[in-house]
Each structure stands twice: as structure tokens, then as C-alpha cells.
């Protein structure tokens, strides 16, 4: 009787152990498929690109090991640093315009205005349209021969600089297209954040005698600070990697005036078939974006810890 009891207890403990193991393993099993997929399409290519950036390769096969020569070639042959500078201008231009526009639109759409639903849909459309299509649209609108904008400006006696031949106009035009494509994302993020602000807070500020402007600066914007920061980071990362808009509108020209790191990577890897040099550029962008994201996470954490 006693022996049988002990055996039962032993069985029960074993059952308990197996149950515990299963419940501990469940989360890992649940996200394993996603992890494998991400590894295949993301981690492995990134790892391979890092390896490739140290080899002289013209195809996907690894060639000769060249150490940091590819990095040297990317930045010091041709206008490598120029592309870095252009990237900064392109990203800064996009962020500086898209974030305030996105916030402004979200603030307007958060008010009970007429046809709010309609405007929300219309304003989100640029985000749904592929960057390629958007870029074609803007290339057409700004075309010096038949574009709408030069035509309309011509009507009021203003001559628009040629976006194909004028370096400043070219950069401005790709930034405008990028802002057009990025603003909806900021708007959606900020709108969601605005809707999560308790109405009590805004009403308390009204009772406290704060003007609408003061309420915006001292209550609303601080309340959406983290979301805005996140939208800013995502917009920056996206703009830093953006290729389609520039390739379609200016192809990096005139004379490299709009060649960013991202388009230079494309040209190195797929036009000049210097995969190793392109990989070196890609790894550089990856590291810069990683550092930027880490800095952002640190800012967020310090805010929460305050």
C-alpha cells in the first residue's frame, strides 16, 4: 500500500514537472515560427552583408578578403562623404517638415470638424501609396516641361528652378516627396496619442486659466512627447534608408547632388556591381541606425525613470 502510494506520488510529481516544462516552453514555441522567418529574411542577410563588406565580391559569392578596403572605397572614392552629407540633409529636411506637419494635421483631425472621417482617410492615403508611385507623381508634378507646379508658378510669373538640373531644387523636390510620404505616419501616431490624453487634463488646464496655446505647449505636447519621439525616430530611420523616391525623381543627380548613402549603396551594388562596397555602405547605415535607436531607447528609459 505504502509502495503504491509512493509510486503514485512519484508519477504525480513527474506529471507536474512535464506540465511545468510545457508551460515554460510554450512562449518560445509560439514565437519560434516568427523568429525563424525573421532570421531567414533579416538576421541572416544582415550577417551575410557584414561578412561581405570585408570581401571584394561582384556577385553574391564571397571574393577576396580585403579588410576595411570596401569601407575606404565607399567613403573615399568618388563622393562618399558627400552622400553621407546628402543623407543628413535629406533626413533632416524630411523630419523637420514631416513631424510638425504630422502633429499639426493630427491636432486638426482630433477636433470635431466637419467631414473629419473623410479627411482622415484622404490624409492617410500618401502612406498607403507605394513610394515608387508617389515619387513618379512628384516627378511628374515638378517636371520642368509639363509639370503642374512649374506651370502654375509660371502663371503668376514665378520661374521655378529646374529640379533636374538645379542641385538645390533637386534636393528640395525629393525632400518634398519624402515629407509627403512620411507625414501620414506621424499623423496617425500622434492622433492615436492625442486620443489617449484624458479629457479631464485638458479641462483642468482650461479651469486653471491656460490659453489654448499654453494648453498645447504645456499639456498636450508633453503628453504626446514619447509618441512624437518615436514617430520622429521611425521617420528618420525610414528616410535614411529611402531609395525609391530619389532614384525615380533624380537618380541621385544632378551630379550627385541628391546621392544619399542609400542610393549610393544601390548604385555601388547594382549599377557598378561592387557588392562588397555596397555592403560596406549598408553596414554603416545599419550601425548608424542602431546607434540612433539605442540613443532613443535610452532617452525614453530616462524619461520613465524620472
Amino acid at each position: 500500500m505504502a509502495i503504491s502510494g509512493a509510486r503514485e506520488l512519484d508519477d504525480l510529481m513527474q506529471l507536474d514537472r512535464s506540465r511545468r516544462w510545457r508551460s515554460a516552453a510554450f512562449p518560445y514555441l509560439a514565437f519560434a515560427p516568427a523568429l525563424i522567418l525573421i532570421a531567414c529574411v533579416s538576421f541572416i542577410p544582415i550577417g551575410y552583408a557584414i561578412v561581405q563588406s570585408f570581401f571584394r565580391s561582384s556577385t553574391l559569392q564571397l571574393g577576396r578578403f580585403v579588410g576595411l578596403r570596401n569601407y575606404n572605397d565607399f567613403f573615399f572614392t568618388g563622393d562618399g562623404f558627400g552622400s553621407f552629407e546628402n543623407s543628413l540633409i535629406f533626413v533632416a529636411g524630411t523630419v523637420v517638415l514631416a513631424v510638425p506637419f504630422g502633429i499639426a494635421l493630427a491636432l486638426v483631425l482630433n477636433k470635431p470638424i466637419l467631414f473629419r472621417g473623410f479627411f482622415r482617410v484622404v490624409l492617410i492615403l500618401p502612406w498607403l501609396v507605394s513610394n515608387l508611385v508617389g515619387a513618379l507623381l512628384w516627378a511628374w508634378i515638378g517636371n520642368p516641361q509639363y509639370g503642374l507646379v512649374p506651370y502654375l508658378l509660371g502663371k503668376i510669373g514665378v520661374t521655378m528652378p529646374n529640379i533636374i538640373t538645379d542641385p538645390t531644387a533637386a534636393m528640395a523636390s525629393v525632400i518634398v516627396a519624402s515629407v509627403w510620404a512620411s507625414t501620414p505616419l506621424v499623423m496617425v501616431f500622434v492622433l492615436a496619442a492625442l486620443q489617449s490624453i484624458p479629457t479631464d487634463l485638458i479641462e483642468a488646464a482650461r479651469m486653471d486659466g491656460a490659453s489654448p496655446w499654453r494648453r498645447l505647449w504645456r499639456v498636450t505636447l508633453p503628453m504626446i512627447r514619447n509618441t512624437t519621439l518615436m514617430a520622429l525616430v521611425l521617420t528618420s530611420l525610414h528616410a535614411f534608408k529611402s531609395v525609391e523616391i530619389i532614384l525615380v525623381m533624380t537618380s541621385g543627380g544632378p551630379n550627385g547632388a541628391t546621392e544619399t548613402m542609400a542610393t549610393k549603396i544601390f548604385h555601388e551594388a547594382f549599377t557598378l556591381i561592387r557588392i562588397g562596397v555596397g555592403s560596406a555602405g549598408a553596414v554603416t547605415i545599419f550601425v548608424l541606425n542602431l546607434l540612433f535607436t539605442m540613443a532613443f531607447v535610452r532617452v525614453l528609459k530616462s524619461e520613465h525613470g524620472a
Binding site: R206, M207, D208, A210, S211, P222
Partner: protein, 359 residues
């Protein structure tokens, strides 16, 4: 009488639905008025209209004699404590207190002086550098009150400020709010659904029901002379016993005759007529176990420590009795209940109004 806040024929419509119907109310300077009623009765809407956070559809709201219907909340010189406290989470306690002062352009020295004064009164001195998320519910509540006090407004509005606190803290804060009011003597309008808060804090209670004012009076007026069945049942815990039947004139005067033939005596001058359907309202503490009166079978005895509560039946009617002491009564016993007819309320069945108030 000078009036701090006055409401005349105030109505509020949301679309086609009217939620506040023709409300008239005068509040004296320094008075603590509690708007009480069940959920959806319009008490918070009325408070928000006084605050300026909701428009007035019809009627007039005056503060210190000035019409404020179209005046922005910021310019009404009133302060409000919200149910959620509505503290600015990204600001320290000091910055929360200073926010209203900054908006009104006080200089730094005055701001510091006012904040320190309020912090001393509310015991917030050691919390000034903290953020709201690092405060307990009670502390947040105090900061919310401090933010209202620091501006020294003409009127304080409280929108269920104690609802989020646990029962013990609520009782403590009730006393603190009342003591604070006694000290500041600022006109206060306080919204709650809790009749105990209303009874314990109010100089006058405004009891609302479905957008109407059901009765205005001191807590004891509402308790002793409720205008209607609704007031009688809303105020007081355990609730007033309601015995339904018809007025019947017998040799000793009018009595209430229930359907099962029990007789409950009514006061001599009761404004009823023979055969009139009425409801007799008796507070549990007014029913006393006695050697004469109406027979009651005790079903449940609740010991509360200081006293007991008896739940039983007089014929078909359920009654609750609070004898005020610990009597040796067990469930299943039959006792006789007596009461002073002067304490009994009589309501007309059709109108549900107190016939004494109605006469």
C-alpha cells in the same frame, strides 16, 4: 440674501435629448452644497455647466451676480477638483500647483508664497518635488485640492473627488475636506452619488433625479421630511421602510390599512382622506420593539457591534428595525413594533410626494 452662485431656469440639451430640466438654485456665499443623486441624474452635467465646461442650452448661470453663460472657464474664477484628480503627469507637485498661477501671471515670489502656504495646509511640503505617479491616491487627491486652493477662487467645484479612494481613506478625506471648508469658507459645490458623503459634508443637499431637482434642504430636512418616496429611499441607510395600503378612518383616527389587514396608526392631522392609497414611510430607528403595536416575525438579525439590525415581516411587508442597542432577539421570534406617529412620513401612492410637504 446675497447669492454666490445662482441658476435660473437652466436646461441642457444634447442634440434633441434634454438632460437637465428647468433647474433653479441659489447658493449662498461660503455655503457647502452637495449635488447628489443616482448615476445619470445630471448632477455632473450641472456642475460642468457651472464650471463652463458645458454650454447652457437655456437659462442663466450667475456667479457673484455676473452672468457667466458665455464666459470661458478660465475667466469665471472658479476651481474644480476632478474625480480622476487630473494632475499633469509630466509635472512635479510644485509645477502642478504653480500651473494655474503661471497662467495668471503671478510673480515668482507670490507663487512660491502661495504654493508653500497651500502645501503647509495640506501637508504636501515633503512631496513638492515628486511626480504624481509617485504619490498614493490620497496624496494625489490632496494635490488636486491644493491646485484648486492655490488660486484662491470664488467657488470650488468638486466632481466626485473621493470616488477613487478606498472606504477608510474616503472617510478620512471627507473629514479633511469639510475641515478645510470650515477654515476657508469658500463657496463649494460638491457632486457625489454617495448619500453618506452628502449627509456628512453638506450645509445643504440638492437631490437630483433624471435632470430635475427632487428636493433642496439641509441633510436633516431631507432625512426627516423627505419630499418624495425617491428622496426617502435615497437618503438614509438602511433605507426607509415603505408600507403600502389605504388610509382608513377608525375610532382612534386615521390608520394605514395594508392589504393583509394590518393597521398602522397615522398622526392626528394627517392630510389624507378615507380610502386614499398611501405609503407609510418609517425609518428603521423609529420602529421600536414594544409590548404593543404591530406584530413582526424576525427573519434575520445582523449584529453591527454597537447595535443590531432586525429584518422581518409585518404581514406581507418587509421591514428593517434598528433598535439602537443589542437586544436579545433571535430569528424566528415574533415581536411587536411601535413607533411615534410624529416621525412617520406619509406619501401619496399616485404622486409619490409627501402629503405633509404637499399640503
Amino acid at each position: 440674501m446675497t447669492v454666490a452662485v445662482s441658476l435660473r431656469h437652466v436646461r441642457k440639451k444634447f442634440g434633441t435629448v434634454e438632460v437637465i430640466h428647468d433647474v433653479d438654485l441659489d447658493i449662498a456665499p461660503g455655503e457647502f452644497v452637495v449635488l447628489v443623486g443616482p448615476s445619470g441624474c445630471g448632477k455632473s452635467t450641472l456642475l460642468r455647466m457651472i464650471a463652463g465646461l458645458e454650454d447652457v442650452s437655456v437659462g442663466e448661470i450667475r456667479i457673484d451676480g455676473s452672468l457667466v453663460n458665455d464666459i470661458d472657464p478660465a475667466d469665471r474664477d472658479i476651481a474644480m477638483v476632478f474625480q480622476s484628480y487630473a494632475l499633469y503627469p509630466h509635472m512635479t507637485v510644485r509645477e502642478n500647483l504653480a500651473f494655474g498661477l503661471n497662467a495668471r501671471g503671478f510673480n515668482a515670489a507670490t507663487k512660491t508664497k502661495k504654493i508653500n502656504e497651500v502645501a503647509a495646509v495640506l501637508g504636501l511640503e515633503s512631496l513638492l518635488a515628486r511626480y504624481p505617479r509617485n504619490l498614493s491616491g490620497g496624496q494625489q487627491q490632496r494635490v488636486a485640492m491644493g491646485r484648486a486652493m492655490v488660486r484662491n477662487p470664488r467657488v470650488f467645484l468638486f466632481d466626485e473627488p473621493l470616488s477613487n479612494l478606498d472606504a477608510k481613506l474616503r472617510a478620512q478625506m471627507r473629514v479633511e475636506v469639510k475641515a478645510l471648508h470650515r477654515r476657508l469658507r469658500t463657496t463649494a459645490i460638491y457632486v457625489t452619488h454617495d448619500q453618506i458623503e452628502a449627509m456628512t459634508m453638506a450645509d445643504r443637499i440638492v437631490l437630483m433625479r433624471a435632470g430635475h431637482i427632487e428636493q433642496i434642504g439641509t441633510p436633516l430636512e431631507l432625512y426627516d421630511r423627505p419630499a418624495s418616496v425617491f428622496v426617502a429611499q435615497f437618503i438614509g441607510s438602511p433605507t426607509m421602510n415603505m408600507l403600502q395600503g389605504r388610509a382608513k378612518l377608525n375610532n382612534a383616527g386615521y390608520v394605514l390599512e395594508t392589504e393583509d389587514g394590518l393597521h398602522f396608526p397615522l398622526r392626528e392631522n394627517a392630510q389624507v382622506h378615507d380610502g386614499q392609497p398611501i405609503i407609510l414611510g418609517l425609518r428603521p430607528e423609529h420602529l421600536k420593539p414594544s409590548d404593543r403595536g404591530v406584530s413582526c416575525i424576525v427573519e434575520i438579525v445582523e449584529p453591527l457591534g454597537r447595535e443590531i439590525l432586525l429584518y422581518g415581516r409585518c404581514g406581507a411587508a418587509s421591514v428593517c428595525v434598528a433598535p439602537g442597542s443589542r437586544l436579545a432577539i433571535e430569528p424566528g421570534m415574533t415581536i411587536d413594533l411601535d413607533y411615534d406617529v410624529a416621525n412617520a412620513c406619509i406619501f401619496d401612492v399616485e404622486t409619490e410626494r409627501n402629503v405633509r410637504n404637499g399640503d
